[in-house]
């Protein structure tokens, strides 16, 4: 009996010991369900970058990364289950890639003391670090996206879009409704007419919406779509012969999966971006060598170089850099979620750093501070070349209208703070 007990304790210690020397990054992925077409490349990119860091560098600061994958199917209830299942395993950072799940874990993670990075999605006002201590959404959020799209239209029109009409075609959910308020403010500021057109989940049927667009002929269409809604919308736009270069999607509406089904008709379609496209970066050499050729690629290994795969890479890269920063600040290799948060808050992404990582010019440069968890809000525009089947960046990372957005962020986060009785930090 004693022997049995002793061996059980020993087994327990042995099971616990290796778990100590690991940095745990849960991946709440969705490889199934209606949004799997976008969830798979992101999950693959996220996993492959961590594999690369483990294989090439032996982890972050010598501590290997352990990625726990949990399937959410983009379903908030499964998201809860995944969060609860992984949070006890030393998770350092959550990136759920779903606005619904992000909203749900914002209060929970803040209470449990685990940082959340909703990169280019989630609750926009989380950019206000004074209220949202544990939530980050650098380098850009939806309101930056809306403003970058309008700035692009301003550029095309020589800075004057008064009297023009712009339609917003959006996914009728929390995600799709995010840009409306910003666009309304911008419409008042620049004098364009805004028309919002909702598409209900999942968006396979959009005939009436695009009929409305054909009838009203807006000068530009901005689109907030996700999953199957995107290819359907682009196909419908092609069908009504809407000029593709006047159709601008958010970064979640700008992947290969969205434009390829529409064939050559989609040529010239534009989408926003906050990171580089294609596989023309030195990092891809290492990925090929350490991950793909070693047979360690996640999933089917066929997503390399796609837009959303790159986004997964970018998300993992920012996570790893923040972890490095955290190790540097705390002087400890085995960081805790609280140290991770400090690392994220001190994160500085410079051109030199990106070049060193093998990703020169991959994203905008930005600094995170205690007050600003959203970065500088720079974004770029990409365009689809249907003949070459390639996305390419057609602008530099340009600024968004922070006068308008800053005020909206302050307003929305103040409402959240009042509702949840949070007092402001960083003062």
């Amino acid at each position: 009996m004693k022997l049995k007990l002793a061996s059980m304790v020993l087994a327990g210690v042995m099971a616990a010991a290796p778990a100590m020397a690991e940095l745990v990054f849960p991946s709440l992925s969705y490889r199934t369900g209606p949004y799997a077409v976008n969830g798979i490349p992101f999950a693959d990119g996220y996993a492959d970058y961590f594999t690369l860091i483990n294989e090439r560098d032996g982890g972050i600061g010598g501590v290997p990364i352990k990625m726990i994958e949990c399937e959410t199917g983009y379903n908030t209830e499964k998201g809860v289950e995944c969060y609860e299942a992984t949070k006890g395993q030393g998770s350092l950072l959550y990136q759920p890639l779903s606005t619904g799940i992000t909203y749900q874990i914002i209060p929970k993670a803040s209470s449990d003391g685990i940082p959340v990075h909703s990169m280019g999605y989630g609750r926009t006002s989380a950019a206000n670090g004074k209220v949202f201590e544990w939530i980050f959404n650098y380098p850009a959020n939806y309101w930056n996206g809306a403003s970058v799209a309008i700035n692009h239209i301003l550029d095309i029109n020589g800075g004057d879009i008064a009297g023009k009409s712009i339609a917003l075609v959006y996914h009728n959910s929390a995600y799709g409704k995010e840009p409306i308020r910003t666009l309304e403010e911008l419409s008042a500021k620049h004098g364009f007419n805004l028309k919002t057109i909702a598409v209900d989940h999942p968006g396979q049927e959009q005939k009436s919406q695009w009929l409305q667009i054909r009838r009203e002929k807006p000068d530009y269409v901005v689109m907030w779509g996700w999953g199957v809604m995107n290819p359907v919308a682009i196909q419908e736009a092609v069908n009504i012969r809407y000029p593709m270069e006047n159709l601008i999607g958010i970064w979640w509406s700008g992947s290969e999966n969205d434009v390829i089904p529409a064939g050559v008709g989609a040529d010239g379609y534009k989408a926003l971006a906050f990171h580089g496209v294609g596989s023309d970066y030195p990092l891809y050499g290492d990925l090929q060598k350490y991950v793909v050729d070693a047979g360690k690629a996640a999933g089917a290994g066929d997503q390399l170089g796609t837009v959303i795969y790159n986004r997964g890479i970018y998300a993992a890269m920012l996570a790893v850099e923040a972890a490095k920063k955290a190790q540097e600040i705390s002087g400890v290799a085995q960081i805790t979620p609280a140290m991770m948060r400090e690392g994220m808050e001190a994160l500085e992404i410079s051109e030199a750093l990106m070049t060193e990582l093998g990703l020169p010019g991959f994203g905008p440069t930005f600094n995170v501070t205690c007050e600003n968890h959203g970065g500088e809000g720079y974004g770029a525009v990409t365009q689809w070349d249907a003949n070459a089947k390639k996305w390419s960046l057609i602008t530099d990372y340009g600024p968004s209208d922070m006068d308008v957005i800053g005020a909206l962020v302050a307003e929305d986060s103040a409402a959240y703070a009042a509702e949840n009785k949070i007092s402001e930090r960083c003062n």
Binding site: T32, E71, T76, V80, A85, G100, P107
Partner: protein, 358 residues
């Protein structure tokens, strides 16, 4: 041998007509209640509360509500998701408008508001039956989801249309919001489930329940023997919506904490609860529990077995879950078309005779 009525003498009518006439059943019921109230709250952790118990309790309330409508009164409804949304948005408006009032009151009032909406959408049931009624309630489902998406007043004009449950208390104990303890969440839902199940059981044993069943079995005959179809059908809609409203309120405020109407209360929720009722057993209180347990716990169990123990890739496991749960549903319905409750009933019949069946 142990499970039998022999030797268990009843000397009053009251004893004879109690819910659990067999001693073994009665003791089993007391033991389960004791464990649920006195043991689980002390051992429960966040994972068990949020992934297993709380969703099970809440879905069981919803399944009870739908079972009253479909199983006892025979009125087919596909509007469950919409009625849950009414409960959720009602409790949200109440929580934000009256922060100092106890959550117990809010949830009950949310249930009452849903009752009113349910009666309103139940009116067509006086004229139409069966599949046609299902279509009418389907319209309620779509209308309600559209309404909560369209009118910003319901979500307090937030930018994204999401509703978030702020921190609220019952007798000084936090029951909503992120700082809620697992035990508080669990107990709060458990109290509602026990109350609702107790009401449901006693209603269905009494004259109201008998009227419902008369309407279900043959409405013309019921009318001839003096059952008023107006009150019988509308009372079924009222009680059912009350329960479903409570479950919707708990679903949003206790379980999810943040919800979006299309995602959380869409048509798939109506179907999920309908499946629970059908698999559990129409017209059975136990069936509602069994169906909710099957549909909520099976996927979680399979996920933990396939991913946690066998180490399968998550996407493969997710697909296998669909296949296995789907296969089990078909298998159960072939083996016993009257649901898990009927299997349980048969087991009890056999147990009474065991070990001497002849």
């Amino acid at each position: 041998m142990i499970y039998r009525e022999a030797g268990d003498f009843k000397t009053t009518y009251k004893d004879d007509s109690q819910t659990f006439p067999i001693k073994f059943d009665r003791w089993g019921y007391y033991v389960i209640l004791a464990i649920a109230f006195l043991v689980i709250p002390f051992v429960i952790n966040d994972y068990w509360a949020n992934a297993v118990f709380v969703p099970f309790l809440i879905y069981a309330i919803a399944a009870l509500g739908l079972n009253i409508l479909i199983g006892y009164c025979g009125q087919l409804s596909l509007g469950t998701g919409g009625f849950m949304a009414v409960g959720a948005y009602a409790v949200y408006k109440l929580m934000t408008a009256f922060p100092d009032v106890s959550m117990l009151v809010h949830v009950v009032i949310a249930g009452l508001i849903t009752t009113c909406v349910g009666i309103l959408f139940g009116l067509p049931s006086l004229r139409i039956k069966g599949f046609y009624l299902a279509v009418a309630t389907l319209a309620a489902q779509f209308f309600l989801v559209w309404l909560f998406n369209k009118v910003p007043w319901f979500y307090n004009n937030s930018a994204s249309g999401m509703i978030n449950s702020p921190e609220r208390t019952v007798f000084g104990v936090i029951v909503t919001g992120p700082d809620t303890s697992a035990a508080a969440k669990y107990l709060f839902c458990l109290v509602f489930l026990v109350a609702v199940a107790w009401i449901a059981r006693n209603l269905t044993r009494g004259s109201i329940g008998r009227k419902w069943m008369a309407i279900r079995d043959m409405d013309i005959a019921a009318e001839i023997i003096g059952v008023n179809p107006l009150t019988a059908k509308l009372s079924a809609f009222a009680v059912s919506s009350f329960f479903i409203g409570i479950s919707g309120a708990l679903f949003f405020s206790i379980y999810l904490g943040a919800a979006e109407v299309g995602e959380a209360f869409g048509i798939q929720k109506s179907f999920l609860i309908l499946f629970m009722v059908i698999i559990g057993g129409l017209g059975s209180i136990f069936g509602s529990f069994a169906g909710a347990a099957f549909m909520v716990l099976m996927p979680v169990l399979l996920k933990n077995v396939l991913v946690g123990w066998l180490g399968w890739p998550t996407d493969l496991a997710a697909h296998m879950e669909f296949i296995i749960v789907g296969g089990l549903i078909i298998a159960f319905l072939i083996i016993e078309p009257h649901g898990l409750a009927q299997l349980w009933r048969l087991t009890k019949e056999k147990l009474r005779l065991w070990p001497f069946p002849h």
